[in-house]
Amino acid sequence: MTHGSARRRTVDVEGIARVEGEGSLHIDVHDGVVADVSLSIFEPPRFFEALLVGRRAAETPDITARICGICPVAYQMSACAAIEDACGTTVSEGIWDLRRLLYCGEWIESHALHIYLLHAPDFLGCADAVELAEHDRAVVERGLALKRTGNLVMETVGGRAIHPVNVRVGGFYSAPDPAAVAALAEPLRRALDAALATVEWVSGFDFPDFQADHRFVALHHPDRYPIESGRVGSSDGLDVSASGFADLVVEEHVARSTALHARLEGGLDYLTGPMARYALNAGRLPGVARQAAAAAGLGPVCTNPFKSIVVRAVELVFACHEALRLVEAYEPPDPPAAAVLPRAGEGTGATEAPRGLLFHRYRIDADGVIETARIVPPTSQNQRAIEADLRRVAQGSLDLPDDALAWRCEQAVRNHDPCISCAAHFLDVTVDR
């Protein structure tokens, strides 16, 4: 795992565990200084932007869902928003609310997965959640129950949890039965309690003392915490439409780094995801989530990425509360989908995947056939920020023995819940050995 002379030390983690997809990290230390850091992806590229060309715009929710089995709803929602933008479609409030409910299900499922199964074991010195369950079975069962509730919301609204079938451009194939939606209230109330307990649990972990000064980028909305819509804002004052943001993002294909890196025009790095959303939108959280955050000692902005698990837990509270609110207010949208009339043009859609901002842009012809596609997932936008964290975390942890140093660095990657399957649709890998 780690090797080298007194002057040179190398840390290689060849399969980063407990992340979605397959990646590796490599750190070179020369004379006590971290000289090089790279997070590599050895997922083979799957060429989604290419295989979408010539397909119907109506197929984008189903096809792009297959980029990622962990956040398929995020892909479906960004695809729908982009195509509706291109076609000038107006979607009713009721449909938007149902989308938000579906999306809350994905946030609950994904955040519970990350907190309990992927991230918490780092703080407790366990290899995985099964080992954690040997010490505290009740806590793992609480996490699994939360995850189950997220899946239940997705199954009820979307038909199934992985690659939902009920989503179409314009809305849904059918509006879920009110009785089935009402039946979600009880599990969601229990989930809300479990989410509050989660915040309390994770806020008691020992966090490495570390601060990162990232530029935060997230959707923001005048009166709600952002999930399925909003303008794009940043911690340094950006305020643009999804389309305006897509114009600002430049992707570079760099051989050495093995990845397309997304940056803002002018070469600016940035971070999306829970820490960014929270920093830009904490004031729009419901009272119950704000109180939980305050009790956990979270200020209005969290700048320690190791504490992202607390922010994620606060968002879990929010998502359960929001889903419950939407369930209680539910009236089946009629019709369940807006008519989408193809026209030649370009459209952009941006939504908040559990792990950060995801945008799609399509150009379609007058018959609704895709001419070009561009999909920028959160992990590609976050990759430079993750590497910046890694560099500083490694530098500050050089006194650790090799195994502990490697684990600390892996943990620094997991702080950002990277989804390598998502990123890999345009990442290539040359692992440097």
Binding site: G21, F47, I63, I70, L117, D128, R160, E251, S421
Partner: protein, 272 residues
């Protein structure tokens, strides 16, 4: 039972979306019981711990799209007593098998500024094209109840019991009115393997074939029906060429329909 006596389970990933291995973690009510009955010896998405092989049961997700992966799957086979593939990518190449008709070089040029940095095979092929496979569990994504059946069967040393008949029978079973007959909605249910519970027809949507071809699927007869209902050959071709575009029964229809469309309309006309 001590830890060492439990059968070992390994989970492997090739080109895929992670959704099928996530299905194992989606067995929330059974996960800890499964982890008690088998020793999870290698599952990178879930654990840092790695137990060296050989493994009693390997679950393999994803398709083979790189030269390195074509080598790696041989090693996985050598270290596995029983190898079960999970999902459409592993069984038929997945959605990424759409490259098979054009080659990855053409695709790389669309996605990458420097296609010369990309090392990818021209095809996305199923695991069974490379090694012997003991069982293929179908679906995009797989069904979690079927996954538990596969694991239970492997532990018991028997063949999994999963249906090979079509989605049509599941519609009949749940009393869903036939979309194809009653509403002329294009539907692949007659030629698609059961397992989802006929989800799409139950919400008024035609089946789009995400569990792959059923046993003895008569795709040609269905094609006639799709065209008679007003679907263009190119749209019918797209319907067959999605998540199981690499499965021969679907691939043949997709190619024939695309050819018919090109012959009929010069390859550029396509109206809904």
């Amino acid at each position: 039972m001590t830890a060492d006596e439990r059968p070992t389970l390994a989970v492997w990933k090739f080109a895929s979306c992670d959704g099928c291995q996530l299905t194992l973690l989606d067995c929330e009510d059974e996960l800890l019981a499964v982890a008690g009955a088998v020793r999870i010896a290698r599952f990178t998405e879930m654990t840092k711990a790695v137990v060296e092989g050989p493994y009693d049961l390997s679950l393999v997700e994803g398709s083979i799209t790189t030269a390195a992966d074509a080598e790696r799957i041989l090693e996985v086979r050598r270290s596995s007593r029983r190898l079960v593939t999970i999902g459409a990518c592993a069984a038929a190449g997945g959605i990424q098998a759409l490259r098979n008709s054009v080659g990855s070089a053409a695709y790389a040029g669309v996605v990458y500024a420097h296609p010369e940095y990309i090392s990818s095979l021209d095809t996305s092929t199923p695991i069974s094209a490379h090694v012997e496979v003991d069982f293929e569990l179908q679906g995009c994504p797989i069904d979690r109840h079927q996954l538990l059946e596969v694991i239970a069967a492997a532990l018991a040393g028997r063949r999994p019991v999963v249906p090979v008949h079509s989605v049509c029978q599941e519609c009949k079973g749940r009393g869903t009115v036939c979309l194809l007959v009653a509403g002329s909605t294009p539907c692949l249910g007659p030629v698609t393997r059961a397992g989802c519970g006929a989800l799409c027809p139950s919400i008024g949507r035609g089946c789009f074939g995400c569990f792959g071809p059923s046993a003895g699927a008569n795709t040609e007869a269905l094609t006639g029906r799709l065209l008679a209902s007003g679907m263009t050959p190119l749209d019918a071709s797209r319907l067959f060429a999605t998540f199981y575009s690499g499965a021969p029964a679907f691939a043949e229809q997709a190619a024939a329909l695309a050819g018919r469309d090109a012959g009929a309309a010069g390859g550029c006309e396509d109206r809904p």
